[in-house]
Symmetry: C4
Subunit: 188 residues, 4 copies
């Protein structure tokens, strides 16, 4: 419940970085269009957090007891997820400003927080897989699959961060690939 609430709050706080453009009278349409990096960053973060939420929800259906280490591993996921609005705001601002070096730094920061979020998920799955007494019978296979997906997601974020030095477009295509991949492979 607490986790659900935290993820719900983070996902909605993202909108606070979509601000009315600061432009002169008569230029609202152009001003809105120029904010496209903010929309890209918003959509990428929204989808990644939604995927984390869905995964989180499905995994807790398989867990029958918690323990302090499990709670702290869960808090690590929440800690890194709660950071997401920060790199989102940095990307929104510096992709628009357009300085090449800043775009690389902003993309790398985004990749770092994304990787942190997914490596935390990996640690969580790793812990649960090693403590079968905490999970419902038959949940082990699902959790091992999700553990693998968390590792792939981490890799996509890190590779995306490196590609940011060539083009932020490739980087964000990879960042968007993470939740789409998770969504398509989500179990019924």
């Amino acid at each position: 419940m607490f986790s659900d609430a935290v993820l719900a709050i983070i996902i909605t706080l993202l909108v606070l970085d979509l601000k009315p453009p600061q432009i002169g009278p008569g230029h609202l349409l152009r001003g809105l269009l120029e904010e496209w990096p903010a929309y890209l960053a918003y959509a990428t973060s929204f989808l990644n957090l939604a995927a984390i939420w869905l995964a989180h929800r499905y995994v807790f259906e398989r867990i029958r007891a918690t323990s302090p280490p499990l709670n702290w591993a869960n808090l690590a996921i929440l800690f890194s997820s709660a950071l997401v609005p920060f790199p989102t705001a940095v990307v929104a601002r510096f992709l628009k400003a357009g300085n090449q070096g800043d775009i690389q730094t902003a993309t790398a920061l985004y990749a770092l927080v994304g990787a942190l979020m997914l490596i935390s998920a990996w640690i969580f799955y790793q812990y649960v897989v090693r403590h079968p007494e905490l999970i419902h019978a038959g949940g082990g296979k699902y959790l091992r699959q999700e553990r693998a997906k968390a590792l792939i997601g981490t890799a996509l974020f890190l590779v995306g961060g490196l590609f940011g030095y060539i083009s932020p477009w490739i980087a964000f295509a990879l960042f968007l690939a993470v939740p789409l991949y998770t969504g398509i492979t989500a179990p019924r």
Copy 2:
């Protein structure tokens, strides 16, 4: 629960756009009155989100199982709802500033996000109606009614956006009509 929390957060974040007026000493009353576009936008968004919440609540009383597509359709409703504070802030600012073209753009943006929210609701209802295995016995009639209402709401938002080119008053009367209509026709 997650949906409930997201809608609760969006509805309360709206207040962050009601800010103390930036005016010289002794003019607070006039400053507060001049913020009427912010109050209009706030009330319209609050009522629309409240109607979405009530509809959301009633529909989930009729649903007995979820599936990944249903969760993603639900996330589409939340995604578009979560955007609402953005056009609300844009309308509040540019209706006050008073440039004719900007008012039309701001109203059209508001209509777009509103239509997106209701077309997402339509997709959700459409999916559920076509998957009767997910709903409680006897829920089909209600869901088909709500599907029709979501379509009417979408139309009202789009028509309102067009009327915004003539007058924002007519547009907002239509935007306000959506939740009032939903509220009056809500089932017991």
Copy 3:
């Protein structure tokens, strides 16, 4: 649950108006002390919203079924509660700025929103008392008492708003009296 979440969010959003003082180096302590109107407004709003939450919680323990009118009456409480951060921010800013007319306006605005919140509560209790089929056996006496308290609270806010023309101190003493009175008379 939705109501609980909305009240929880409003109560925590209040802190966003406590901002680091904008002062030159070496004057942080003085800057913090000069923000006393913000602390007074914060504490008054926090206690009033906490009292609304407690009352809300106790009343829903006595309610066994909801209806659309009850849901809309509940939304009226949430609508007015959700506004509270706005007059709180206005009071914080204009009590500090110190213009006599602005202080009167800010206090009157605060009183208005407070009265709106309590008159909404009164409408809610009035509706429930008149629909005994919605409440658990034996809940009627409690709800009639709370209805009377909501009316007294409304009066205290309106009288406080008038006293604001003489002194904001008397006004805020009355605004603080509402939750303290509710707290002391809360049933076990």
Copy 4:
């Protein structure tokens, strides 16, 4: 549920103080690194609030009934916790600005709010321990332990506030020690 939601919101609102650095083009990396006081304050506050949440959760598993005084004691914890983003923002800003006196004031303010949060927890435990009719059989020993830990945490915050006059590093090491100590000694 309400408490869980409030703590979840506070913990996520902390991120709003991590803002894109206001720097000229090409200096984003340096700008991000210079924000280290904001990261230190963020991590300290996040961990302290997470520890409060975990303790809160464990204690409510031992409580079988609430009472108005217990609710108000709980609100005192929430009231002081809800304040945390304020000293966090003050520390982030004035540790960066670098004036010695302001750093001392900011650290003392942080210590004060932290101590307030833990003394509230102590009052809560004290009340519960003295009202065994509110707790499940066998919960008394746990609650007495937690009461002692709340007192030690209060002391660490106060001592940290005093050490802030020598070095903010020692102060924050002590502030971070509170949740780490609580986490390590958390019962299974």
